[in-house]
């Protein structure tokens, strides 16, 4: 199993949202996350975040989630929202190499960290990342909506454990739901990616 980033727990997220003035219900978090209102206060809104190796300057509301920033401010729509409440993993990105739910992270909390999304995986010449290549070869996706999250979870897993057993891969990927039930095909993809790594 891969490590959990102690700075990015769900508890810290909820506390952060409450501190920023939004009510702590999942529905409100979703919309508060896209807030355009500018509450008086000391939180600087124009911040710099490191996404896919590029430092981006972006206007971020205090209670805005990383998934919102990526999707709606930076146009990185590869990161999906399946539940927006930390249940499904569709929004998985890497924060300092660790797979993390972008719907449950405040953007302000990752200013000093490296964020990687599915858009950042291909090499400069357009070659797919080994995980992406393996997922194509194994036809891992079905509807594809969970796929970017599965890809990022697999990349994070293989960085921490380049040669997992199938059981380790199953445990490592367990934070990502696939309603199409393509788990077997994703595991085939992870094992193949480890081979071609």
């Amino acid at each position: 199993m891969y490590p959990v980033n102690p700075k990015l727990t769900r508890r810290r997220f909820i506390k952060g949202v409450i501190a920023s003035g939004a009510a702590a219900t999942s529905t409100s978090i979703w919309y508060a996350a896209n807030g355009a209102e500018r509450p008086p206060g000391s939180v600087e809104r124009l911040i710099r975040i490191n996404v896919n190796g590029q430092v981006r300057t972006v206007d971020v509301a205090p209670q805005e989630t990383l998934a919102s920033t990526l999707r709606y401010k930076l146009g990185l729509t590869g990161t999906k929202l399946g539940c927006n409440r930390g249940e499904c993993g569709a929004c998985t990105v890497l924060v300092d190499d660790i797979p993390s739910y972008a719907c449950s992270i405040l953007t302000h909390s990752v200013k000093a960290m490296r964020i990687e999304t599915v858009e950042g995986l291909e090499s400069a010449n357009g070659d797919l990342h080994p995980v992406q290549q393996a997922f194509v070869e194994e036809l891992s996706p079905q509807c594809g909506y969970c796929t970017p999250g599965q890809v990022m979870a697999a990349v994070g897993l293989l960085r921490a454990n380049p040669n997992p057993t199938r059981e380790e891969a199953r445990q490592g990927m367990a934070g990502n739901i696939c309603r199409c039930g393509s788990y077997d095909s994703y595991l085939n993809g992870v094992m193949r990616a480890a081979e071609i790594g």
Binding site: N34, T77, G82, E87, C88, V136, C143, P148, R166, S185
Partner: protein, 807 residues
């Protein structure tokens, strides 16, 4: 038969976009000037809107408009149980009442809080039996049921009738619906083993991964809708009707769909897409409506729960002589469904029951919107019947595999109330292949062996669904550069059938796949109609149309070449890039040259004349818009004869811990019998995906509602127990019989639904086996139920309960 493409793996063109995140789902689009709609939904399970005061909300900075049921139904809401776009008469918590649009979602949410909504609360009910009982509440204003062509009605049983049913006895009330065939009485009289029980199967939500977000805008009188669906063109025309725009002015854009499972195949099950379309028309701005997980739960559909009574008679040789079944079907707060009928027809098909009676009464509850969900009916009932098969085998001293083989459907067999013949059927072969791959004979002795608190259970399950339709259309075009354009209206929900069925056209024309393009994703690319993509039909239905359109093109190509180079069309053959004379292959023309010639000739060659008259309206529109653009192959598929079945067989070994009620799946194989295999990787995905769904049905998924207030308690993935990596085995074995069906030009039939029923059945069979043949007569069988059984505690606190915990 040796094929060039059929039966071979390939990379469907949308897969790279899925692994890179580049492919777009509806919510990934933006448009200049776009505003955001939020929904105000019903806080009560049943009510009537008395007044909406939105003055303060509309006065807020940034708010651009409101859309209510009165806007979308100026002549009053349709009087049916179906989902509405918006409603003033909500029948479940979370049903959309109105939408507010604003420059951003925060503003729309804040405006929503300023709306003063006055609702008259009405009585509500969560369990069909509570509504059936005399004096019980009704889910709808007009009653507790909706009778086709008649409208709302009230159905009541005496209290004694309900209690007697809950106690496991045959319901005595008149059913709403019934059919029968054969001599039921004689069947039971000739039976040596009869099993009779009440049963229940839970309703539970579809929970597609992509919420049904949609975005719409109007431009030059045309409505552009970015939406989600499992049937691209089949959904477009009825969707245009719901929005109220002529088909020719409607463009539906739907490149990828994040899961459907039955609830996105027809426009009526996803009318919420009309909200941004109608709103955008009203305020003249592009409107994005993002749908939350909670909203997806409410309007995203649910399987019907069944409360039933079943009686099955077996002769001493194991043959199923008679079956009698009575169901009360939960129609929920919206919609309905035909699960019970399909369940009965499914048993008839799978077990070749000699005499049968089916009775059903459908009753509404103020719970999730009901409609078709992956194998609706068949997949629930197989989980109930499989352990009964085992019980019969045990009682009659037969092998569990043998009793299934004896009753298995094969070529020449018929099924259902109309005795419809199968187009082909190879269930015995499927059972044999599963037994071999699973090593049934080798594993058999492990059944019921214990190891500490753990006990091994073996299960066999069979799945069935009618898996093919006809009467649709095909369009292919050949460009002057020699590239084949395959215009498919098949939706992209993850089965890859939009691509695999198109390959039948490439097969006919012997063309390398690199020279072919699939034209799809939006209706203004002028696509052919497909059947609604439900009922496992796509592979059968749309290989027929792709094949037919390519045959039409082939005939036209030969005709053009014969016209230019002499002789008759029959003197020519093709090699994938040239049409050549059979006797002298140096005489011929390239496909590109033929396509160029077609453009010069026009008329029937380019779709400008002699178009098949019976094309469906959407295809006819597409053909008229493509006419003159290229060499065209156009086809209207006539009706086929018979019932094309999809069959599957699963075998499972579990190790069940009697201390915790949990089990591990040690081995699982799922084998398909779906005619000729078109796309092995795609088929494998259906088999593993179906297996995961089968585990969900038999062990995990259900609806939970707060009985006090009618509020759903399982709106998330977590509470509704969608199977995860850890609920499912690390390896799922798959395989297929691969024998051709004569009613399909490439021999293929569908599989999406039976691949789930086989596993739901096998798992319940294995759980029962591990518990010495105990029958729960329920799905799901949860850990609580197992522990209670082991502890000797009565299983049913509320017998046959729906939308609630059992036990």
């Amino acid at each position: 038969m040796a094929y060039m493409h059929i039966g071979k793996d390939f990379v469907p063109p949308d897969v790279p976009g899925k692994v890179t995140g580049r492919i777009k789902y509806a919510e990934d689009y933006t448009r200049e000037g776009m505003v955001y709609a939020r929904l105000l939904t019903s806080p009560v399970p049943h009510g009537r809107i008395v007044n909406i005061d939105a003055t303060a909300a509309l006065a807020m900075d940034g708010v651009v408009g409101i859309l209510t049921a009165d806007d979308v139904y100026p002549d009053g809401e349709p009087q049916s149980t179906g989902l509405k776009i918006l409603t003033n008469e909500p029948t479940l918590v979370g049903e959309p009442i109105l939408a507010i649009a604003a420059v951003d979602e925060k503003t729309a949410e804040s405006a929503m809080a300023l709306i003063s909504l006055t609702i008259e609360r009405l009585p509500f009910v969560l369990d069909p039996l509570d509504s059936l009982r005399e004096g019980g509440p009704d889910a709808y204003t007009g009653g507790n049921t909706f009778v086709f062509r008649q409208g709302f009605a009230q159905e009541k049983w005496t209290s004694d009738q309900v209690t007697s049913f809950q106690n496991g006895r045959e319901p005595s009330a008149e059913p709403q619906q019934s059919w029968e065939y054969g001599d039921l009485e004689a069947g039971f009289a000739s039976s040596d083993f009869i099993y009779e029980t009440a049963f229940s199967t839970a309703g539970y939500p579809h929970m597609s991964m992509e919420p049904r977000s949609a975005m719409a805008y109007w431009e030059n009188g045309k409505c552009y809708l970015h939406g989600t669906s499992q049937s691209l063109t089949a959904l477009a025309e009825p969707m245009a009707n719901i929005i109220g725009v002529p088909l020719e002015d409607f463009v539906f854009i739907n490149e990828a769909t994040g899961g459907g499972f039955g609830q996105r195949s027809r426009a009526g099950s996803i009318p919420s897409m009309a909200i941004p379309a109608r709103f955008s028309q009203k305020i003249n701005r592009p409107v994005m409506m993002r749908v939350t997980r909670e909203e997806e739960f409410t309007i995203g559909g649910a399987r019907q729960g069944l409360q039933g009574w079943i009686k099955i008679g077996f002769r001493s040789d194991g043959s199923m002589a008679a079956m009698d079944m009575y169901c009360v079907s939960d129609s929920g707060g919206k919609g309905g469904g035909g699960d019970a009928n399909s369940a009965a027809a499914g048993v008839s098909a799978l077990y070749q029951v000699e005499a049968m009676r089916f009775r059903n009464t459908s009753i509404g509850t103020n719970t999730g919107h009901r409609g078709a969900q992956r194998g609706p009916g068949e997949n629930q009932i197989m989980a109930i019947v499989a352990p009964i098969m085992d019980k019969a085998a045990e009682a009659l001293g037969l092998d569990r595999l043998a009793i299934r083989k004896l009753n298995a459907a094969q070529n020449g067999d018929v099924s259902g109330s109309r005795s419809t013949p199968f187009t082909s059927a190879y269930m015995p072969e499927c059972l044999e292949q599963a037994a071999e791959q699973f090593d049934w004979d080798g594993r058999k002795s492990r059944a019921r062996q214990t190891n500490g608190s753990k006990v091994t259970g073996l299960g066999i399950g069979q799945g069935y669904h009618n898996a093919g339709r006809s009467g649709m259309d095909g369009i292919v075009r050949m460009l002057p550069n020699g590239r084949l354009q395959m215009h498919t209206g098949v939706g992209n929900l993850g089965t890859y059938s939009y691509a695999s069925t198109s390959r039948a056209a490439a097969e006919v024309l012997k063309m390398p796949w690199e020279d072919c393009d699939i034209v799809t994703g939006r209706t203004d690319r002028h696509l052919a109609i497909s059947s609604p993509q439900d009922g496992s039909n796509s592979i059968f239905t749309n290989t027929r149309t792709a094949y037919g359109a390519a045959q039409d093109m082939l005939a036209k190509m030969k005709e053009i070449v014969a016209m230019d180079l002499g002789g008759a069309a029959a003197d020519y053959d093709i090699d994938g890039s040239r049409v050549y004379q059979i006797t002298d292959n140096t005489v011929g023309m390239t496909y590109a040259a033929v396509a160029q010639r077609a453009l010069e000739l026009g008329g029937k060659f380019t779709g400008e004349a002699d178009v098949p008259e019976d094309l469906n309206s959407l295809t006819a529109l597409s053909v008229s818009r493509l006419a003159g653009s290229a060499l065209m192959g156009i086809y209207h598929d006539p009706r086929h004869a018979g019932n094309p079945p999809g069959f599957a067989v699963a075998m499972i070994e579990i190790e069940l811990d009697t201390e915790t009620g949990k089990f591990d799946i040690i081995e699982l194989v799922n084998i398909a019998e779906c005619g000729t295999v078109v796309h092995p990787q795609g088929l494998k995905n259906q088999l593993v995906g179906g297996a995961v769904w089968g585990i969900g049905l038999s062990a995990l998924e259900r609806h939970l509602y707060d009985p006090q207030n009618g509020i759903p308690a399982s709106t998330g993935f977590w509470q509704s127990k969608i199977p995860t990596y850890l609920d499912t085995p690390a390896n799922i074995g798959t395989g297929w019989v691969d024998l051709p069906d004569p009613e399909n030009p490439v021999g293929a039939r569908g599989i999406g639904e039976p691949s789930m029923g086989s596993v739901s059945a096998a798992l319940n069979s294995a759980i029962s086996d591990a518990l010495d043949g105990h029958l729960f007569n329920a799905a799901p069988v949860t850990t609580d139920m197992i522990i209670n059984h082991v502890a000797g505690i009565s299983e049913d606190a509320i017998p046959l309960a729906q939308n609630n915990f059992r036990g």
